[in-house]
């Protein structure tokens, strides 16, 4: 795979939130405003980029057995840097994001990329991977946050856009709204992926566990629609 693909995969095909569904804790918690989304995204991207590069550099030096503590130390270092910098220069944002900045340490996207990519690939690719994943994460966060802020508060980046007669749909600002919106967006993205795949004549890359067919509660449900369709056709 070329460098371009390593960068681009984070944007769509392996988008950390919508495809791989990682890092949901900050995704659900901080996306109450678009500004928060941007802040969280940039912070995570910075950590991801730096940790990926450092881990890639040190990958042959770190013994395999103690790689986890080693990664944690590296990631924690950069998170501390981000925490201190944000506190110093972007104090209101730092306050808004609160505990979720320190919690980047245990963000599974960062650990995941370190383990799955940076520890196996060269510095350039790891850098691109981290950048792509970070930007994909940021875009996703901003997308979710914009919708929540727009509908739930009538603003985007703090600017009122919905007019004075708009009654804010407060549910979206609240935690349940985050879940509902994320679920709906995941479903919609899968739809888009299926449509794209069909057009391109390839199998849609939807993880088995995101498909209703493999759900323990509704196992086999996705077949139900087809069965009904077949029944209809048989009757006609």
């Amino acid at each position: 795979m070329g460098a371009g693909r390593e960068f681009a995969k984070g944007l769509w095909s392996e988008n950390p939130i919508f495809r791989v569904v990682l890092g949901l804790c900050p995704t659900l918690a901080v996306t109450t405003s678009a500004q928060n989304g941007v802040g969280m995204g940039i912070a995570a991207t910075f950590v991801l980029l730096c940790s990926n590069v450092i881990i890639s550099v040190l990958r042959s030096f770190i013994p395999r057995k103690i790689r986890i503590p080693a990664y944690i130390v590296i990631i924690a270092t950069f998170v501390t840097v981000v925490d201190l910098v944000m506190n110093a220069y972007f104090n209101p944002l730092h306050k808004a994001l609160g505990i979720f900045i320190p919690l980047i340490v245990v963000n599974c996207i960062i650990m995941g990329r370190a383990e799955a990519f940076a520890s196996k690939n060269g510095v350039l690719y790891s850098l691109l991977d981290g950048l792509g994943m970070g930007i994909g994460f940021t875009i996703s966060l901003v997308a979710i946050a914009s919708i929540r802020e727009l509908l739930g508060n009538g603003t985007i980046f703090g600017a009122a856009v919905m007019g004075s007669s708009y009654v804010p749909f407060m549910l979206l600002i609240l935690p349940p709204g985050a879940f509902i919106l994320l679920g709906t967006m995941l479903g919609a993205m899968n739809r888009v992926e299926i449509a794209l795949a069909r057009r391109a004549g390839r199998a849609p890359s939807i993880r088995k566990e995101h498909d209703c067919a493999s759900c323990a509660i509704f196992a086999g449900w996705s077949n139900a629609a087809d069965k009904i369709k077949a029944l209809e056709e048989a009757g006609r």
Binding site: K65, P69, V73, A203, S205, R207, G220, K227, A230, A234
Partner: protein
């Protein structure tokens, strides 16, 4: 700042010492080959090899209890990389296979003997007089095979026959086992000419039931090279060796024998598909 450095260093020292102790005390010898082999397998955990999952197969291969080409899905390329890991020579050659439906009796060509009204599932339909097709051997067309295919390789055609996409089929055998009429079989993708019927009925009965069924006229046996096609209980059956030439399809009066282009014979494609499957 000095405090931070000292604290971190001290902590690191203590932690690494502890880790070293733990590593020594609880060391579990793991054959590194297992991990490597597992990495080489497609990772779909489809069960096509008959084992619970890829890791189990990897363990067995590493222990020498399974062959390097035991994964039916991975095909030659996977077998090759596993043989490299195991350090054994791989002769290659195990031809890639795909599932094929040995029935051409769709809604236009095959007749039905009653209106079936029940569970839309072939095995259930077969409980009632063996299904509604007039031909007792034919495809019931309710898509049970499509439902069990873990790779989405089977789709039902508008005329009610399963269509298997050889590029997606991994020859995992699930559909073969699921079909109550036992009309799906695994065939090498390299084979081009197939006899798409499973009916052992006599010619007259077949003619009444289906316009594309084998009526055992033996024209194909005469046309094909010696030993390529044999009549078994009113049904022409390909033996596989020698290959049936394309010309035989033309002599079949019922259009039962057809040239089926299974498309992919280049192993490179198969490897690509397997790799993509692992990545997604």
């Amino acid at each position: 700042m000095v405090a931070a450095i000292i604290a971190l260093s001290a902590l690191a020292l203590v932690a690494s010492f502890g880790l070293a102790m733990v590593a020594r005390a609880f060391a579990v010898p793991v054959d590194p080959k297992v991990e490597e082999i597992e990495g080489a397998l497609p990772g779909a955990n489809c069960g096509g090899c008959g084992l619970p999952g890829c890791s189990e197969l990897a363990r067995r291969i590493a222990e020498g209890r399974a062959d390097v080409d035991a994964c039916p899905v991975g095909g030659e390329s996977v077998a090759r990389s596993i043989s490299r890991i195991m350090g054994v020579a791989f002769a290659g050659g195990g031809a890639r296979k795909t599932a094929l439906v040995f029935c051409a009796g769709d809604d236009e060509t095959a007749r039905r003997r009653f209106y079936y009204n029940g569970v839309k599932d072939c095995a259930s339909a077969a409980l009632l007089f063996g299904g509604d097709k007039l031909c007792g051997y034919g495809c019931l067309g309710l898509g049970t095979c499509a439902g069990v295919c873990p790779f989405g390789a089977i789709e039902m055609s508008a005329l009610g026959l399963p269509v298997i996409d050889p590029s997606k089929c991994t020859a995992c055998n699930k559909c073969v086992l699921a079909c109550p009429k036992k009309i799906i079989k695994l065939v090498p993708v390299s084979r081009r000419v197939h006899i798409l019927c499973s009916s052992h009925d006599k010619g007259a009965k077949v003619r009444k039931a289906c316009s594309v069924g084998c009526i055992a006229c033996t024209k194909c046996v005469k046309e094909a090279p010696e030993g390529a096609i044999a009549m078994q209980d009113n049904l022409a059956v390909a033996s596989g060796v020698p290959e049936i030439p394309d010309s035989v399809a033309a002599v079949c009066p019922m259009n039962t024998i057809r040239v089926v282009d299974l498309g992919i014979s280049a192993p490179a494609d198969a490897a690509g598909a397997a790799a993509e499957g692992a990545a997604s």
